[in-house]
């Protein structure tokens, strides 16, 4: 009888652990406003890191300050955000992330802002 109860408890323990382990779903958000586009993604993904987020053209052209972009990748790649602007007018972008993340600026800000926490 005691043996049966122990086996039963092990079965419950296994089921309880299965139930307590949540499926880590992916979450994403995309927003646009005029010449701006922003994307953010979190969670596991099968896509390669450099394909997961929207990137602006990497011109690194400091002569053209019309177009800017910023990309943030967390240390383990599970969270990312990017913002890009189309040419025209005045623009500013900024990005940041948790410890270990990498923030990369494109276009006019490329020389001034490259950070790795």
């Amino acid at each position: 009888m005691i043996l049966r109860i122990r086996k039963l408890s092990h079965a419950y323990l296994f089921l309880a652990c299965l139930a307590a382990s949540p499926a880590l779903a992916q979450a994403s958000a995309s927003v646009t406003a005029g010449p701006l586009r922003g994307d953010a993604q979190a969670g596991p993904s099968n896509q390669p890191l450099n394909e997961r987020i929207a990137r602006g053209p990497r011109t690194d052209d400091t002569r053209n300050c019309d177009s800017r972009g910023v990309t943030v990748n967390s240390a383990n790649g599970s969270a990312s955000a990017s913002v890009t602007t189309s040419p025209g007018g005045s623009s500013a972008v900024a990005g940041g992330g948790s410890s270990g993340s990498r923030t990369e600026y494109f276009g006019c800000d490329a020389d001034h802002h490259r950070s790795e926490k």
Binding site: P22, A29, A40, A42, T71, G89, G96
Partner: protein
């Protein structure tokens, strides 16, 4: 009874530790335009909690076009990220303005954008958009 104790102990240990696992992403954006002036801002953030570690990322952007156009963007913080961005353009009495604020916390992301367009002699036209997402409680 003895056999049930390990089960209760394991559940007590496992449940709180796994309660906040998941991902959330949100953003907001807005544009105001009047008399040849336009101002746009947006923010997009993501946060994830997993056994491999917690991570967050936040991006902010602003764009303005017009005679006097100004833009500014910033993100501050490590674990709790705060983003702020502003765009404004005006000529004479016409003014277009947009402002976005985002908070990227350990288990949620929320962004709010407010816009305003104003012509002389008329009331300001205002709008607000919000985006919010939380990691679901398990």
């Amino acid at each position: 009874m003895k056999a049930l104790l390990p089960l209760a102990f394991a559940l007590a240990l496992a449940t709180p530790a796994l309660a906040q696992q998941g991902s959330a992403a949100a953003g907001s954006a807005g544009t105001a335009a009047v008399g040849g002036n336009s101002a746009s801002t947006l923010g997009a953030g993501a946060v994830t909690n997993s056994p491999n570690g917690d991570a967050s990322a936040l991006g902010m952007g602003a764009s303005a076009a017009g005679d006097n156009a100004k833009t500014r963007s910033g993100v501050h913080g490590n674990n709790n990220l705060n983003g702020n961005t502003m765009a404004m353009a005006h000529n004479g009495g016409d003014m277009a303005k947009s402002h976005t604020v985002c908070h990227d916390r350990s288990d949620s992301v929320d962004c709010r954008t407010k816009t305003m367009a104003h012509e002389p002699g008329g009331p300001p036209v205002k709008s607000t958009s919000e985006g919010e997402a939380s990691i679901p409680q398990q």
